[in-house]
Symmetry: C2
Subunit: 388 residues, 2 copies
């Protein structure tokens, strides 16, 4: 294969961008050959953009079986990611899914089974993994340079959305249509990066407020605490109701501290491990010598969505290592599910778990879910999914 033929499924707020970038030839080795959306007017619009070189489908099953594509980019509402993905794997296609990988882990496990069985390439659109800031932080933590993890706090409250955002599509911010709020739509990136950098917590406790700042069913304000296997703790705070909000990730280890704050990374390195220092000190209020404390020279936010598309394409064509394997999608999702479940039960939720208890909660929520009018607006999302 010297070219990957892509079909984009779902050309709403995110998908129409992927379609345009692929069509414009921005992804070397990739070519757009098919587009699918359940809304005829959107397909009409797509025809106006891409013309006759691309085929158009109202049903993803037809696109998948058309013989026109080697890979699908799935950008539908979240519930359909595993459903369509499984169908694509079963038909021998490579699958790149928008985040989140699904709404609940039980279904995601079926997705993973299909992926493994097919042996095809499986990626997830974790575009923020291309960001050199987070890549650098991860390297410092994962290499052991920061020492033993003590704490990982992320205040990520800069996902401000007004009421009209939630009115743009009928599925948005409903239990039946989206399956969650800020945890499901905005935070998959942060939940993924959090665990990508410091690893998975093994227990989660959270308070979620539903429709606190918007007239919606789902959570728009979350405060969560977590515990890690080594005893370290973490906090995750998010909302779509604060402006301008904060984006600050602070990670403390026994050898130093690293802070991501709105595009800047500050790295403080101790001259010795705090665990060794405290054992040897006799002065009570002693301070540990600091080796360095600096703003790291990092620039730009990486290649973002196109970076993931390129990497996925190169993975298929040349075996390049995947930056965001689809199999990683369950990690952040497990944390999100645990937060919602804990908020409901008011108990710590252990991780990993089989996802059954969250699935039951979700069914209860869906049963109460009310349809809302669909304004049919395709939002211009450019500039809204970065890290700042």
């Amino acid at each position: 294969m010297d070219q990957v033929r892509f079909g984009v499924i779902g050309i709403g707020s995110m998908g129409h961008m992927h379609m345009e970038e692929l069509f414009a030839g921005k992804i070397p080795g990739a070519v757009l050959t098919a587009v699918c959306d359940i809304k005829p007017d959107r397909l009409e619009w797509a025809k106006g953009v891409c013309g006759d070189s691309v085929s158009y489908f109202l049903d993803s099953r037809e696109l998948i079986r058309s013989g026109l594509v080697d890979a699908v980019m799935i950008a539908t509402p979240h519930y359909f990611h595993p459903i369509i993905g499984i169908d694509a794997f079963e038909n021998g296609l490579n699958v790149l899914s928008e985040k989140p990988i699904g709404v609940y882990t039980k279904k995601v496990r079926e997705f993973y089974d299909a992926a493994r069985k097919s042996g095809k390439a499986f990626g997830i659109m974790y575009n923020q993994r291309t960001d050199p800031h987070f890549q650098t932080i991860r390297k410092i933590v994962q290499s052991g340079e920061l020492g033993e993890l003590k704490r990982a706090v992320w205040i990520i409250t800069n996902w401000y959305r007004t009421q009209s955002y939630y009115m743009s599509s009928g599925w948005r911010a409903t239990w039946a249509g989206e399956g969650g709020g800020v945890l499901m739509n905005q935070c998959p990136h942060n939940l993924d990066l959090w665990q990508w950098i410091v690893g998975m917590p093994n227990a989660v406790y959270a308070n979620c407020d539903f429709g606190k700042y918007h007239d919606i069913e789902v959570e728009d304000d979350v405060t969560a605490m977590v515990k890690y296997p080594n005893g370290a703790t973490g906090v995750f705070i998010t909302t779509t109701g604060e402006f301008p909000g904060t984006n600050r990730l602070e990670i403390s280890g026994s050898k130093g501290r690293i802070i991501y704050d709105d595009g800047d990374v500050y790295y403080l390195k101790l001259a010795m491990d705090e665990r060794d220092f405290t054992a040897g000190d006799r002065r009570g209020f002693a301070k540990i010598p600091i080796e360095s404390d600096e703003l790291l020279p990092l620039d730009g936010a990486g290649e973002g969505h196109n970076g993931i598309l390129k990497n996925f394409t190169n993975h298929i064509l040349y075996g390049e290592e995947l930056l965001a394997p689809g199999y990683d999608g369950i990690n952040g999702l497990s944390i999100a599910n645990a937060m919602l479940l804990s908020s409901e039960t008011k108990k710590w939720v252990e991780l990993p778990n089989d996802g059954e208890e969250f699935w039951e909660l979700l069914q209860k929520k869906i049963a109460t879910s009310k349809a809302k009018p669909d304004a049919g607006i395709v939002l211009d999302t450019r500039g809204t999914y970065g890290n700042k």
Copy 2:
């Protein structure tokens, strides 16, 4: 009265400093006339410093009944603050207590009853209330300038202590001697300022780790979340096991955000209330115009301990309003007690409450408490109790 005659009770790590400042005449209108400590060698040391103009006592009851003092500054281990304070009020003295006002709220209520009955001046050494940074933040929040409170997060992890600190006195960091760890010793300031600025939460959930970073019985690592009566949320994170740690208080309101970060105050003011903006917007991803976003020109940390001593003296002499009334002491203490109780029960603790449940927990903890050797060290605390 044209001069307040002070007796300092307890001249360990904090008290010896109050003694020296009073003796040096640093507090206009105040004069040091008596000093008390249960340790004869400390009294010997005090005699060497203050000489014959001051009287010395091994028993606080004798100092209180000596007729030599109008006011006592109590700087004993925490459990004795209410016990000695009540004795002083019952003997017609004015009382300034070191923080915390006590170890559990049940006892503090008795302290308050005695204070009210006496009608004498009652203060608490909340020296950080003299800090212009916190005074300014409080004014902005309390005046309504920040709008409706949404969130108040304090990461206060810069209370680093090595193991040798905890070995300096036998009572330190034991349930029987101190009644708690970082919440009882280091954080009373922060818990007080937090509630002084944004008001009291009405529910608390916490995870406290005991002896996590030190060989001690009590908590040295705490993560807590709170809820406020208006639905706002908060987080409080502290430890004595991180270096250099962070001191960052972030308060979000519907009209802006104010951040205290290690001595700097950043105030961002929105051009309109977010609640009004979201209702009127039709663009989904819209941004609220920012009226101003600046580092406030604030300097210094205020007069600290001496500021409180001066204010207390002026209150007695001239009726100056108390900056830190003793009656405020129960607020931060209630939060601290609730954090420990919640961590034990793994349930949200409502505030206010009668303190009975925490008292029972404390008795259980005390029953397991082990004495530890007393190194008899008087720590030099100068420079350790500021806000940086």
